[in-house]
């Protein structure tokens, strides 16, 4: 029920905005979807990197500082948001300058 409701809401807003977006479109929908997948892919890569580096740094800190750094720090949900931000910046960096 919840799943159907959420998907229905997102489907409705997508259909509602599509005509407006089409008027201002500078590329086809297929190309936009491909770009979106690239950005998500970059996000996944950044997430993997951030978690892996965080895990290693926590282990190194335990050895070097002799203090305790929890491995669960790498489980923080802000890492997902920041990985998405990194992906967006890199993706737009790769894009040609808009005129």
């Amino acid at each position: 029920m919840e799943t159907a409701f959420i998907l229905a809401v997102v489907g409705l807003t997508s259909l509602g905005v599509a005509p407006l977006a089409r008027r201002r479109a500078r590329r086809g929908l297929r190309s936009a979807a491909a770009r979106a997948l690239e950005t998500i892919g970059l996000g996944v890569v950044f997430l993997f990197l951030n978690v892996a580096v965080g895990f290693c740094l926590a282990l190194i800190a335990r050895l070097v500082v002799r203090g305790f750094v929890s491995l669960y720090l790498n489980d923080d949900v802000t890492i997902v948001a920041l990985s998405a931000l990194q992906a967006l910046i890199v993706q737009w960096w790769r894009e040609p300058e808009a005129r």
Binding site: I6, L37, E38, I40, G41, L42, L71, D75
Partner: protein, 203 residues
Amino acid sequence: MSGGGALRAIGATGLALFAALAFTPLPNLIHGVVVPPAPPLEPAAAIVVLGAGADGDVLTNDSLRRALGGVALFRRGLAPRLVMLGPGREPSEAAVRVRLAEDLGVPAAALLADSRGLTTRDEARVSWEDLAPRGGRKVLLVTGSQHMLRAAALFRRVGFEVVPAPVDDVPSGAQRPQARLELARALFRELLARAYNRVAGYL
């Protein structure tokens, strides 16, 4: 495959995984495979409640659930002693839980707080130091159901006979997309922790 093609493939896989975890019962199925059902509860020498975090003197939801689970077992008369674990600056998580247990009617003489354990492995060690001299070798272990398999193995390794008394930190029958994602996250985190403990030789 070009760089863009590889990123699109990773992106499509990530998106498909997200959809499967949020909008299908996949996390519930994985939980069924990864988390064995708990055996019936038995009386023991002590109830040991593992730490789950606190912000100052405010317990996290997981910590509160586990503490209440321990108190409920005590009130059912399953053990004469209740050990609350959990680190932190004063007041430690363990101390906050002990205060809560006292407020809920557990006698102070039956309570023991130990804030020395920073990891599950530490908690097994300090619990052994606390309980073994008192003859408490059989314990009811209270922790999240996803965490139980690893925690029970670490406690057995130091010498305890363990009766699992899992508390669902995250509901295993989650139906809402957000709850399913939380369940998937808890399972993924636990699988990583199990792998780390195996590689490090702790399990």
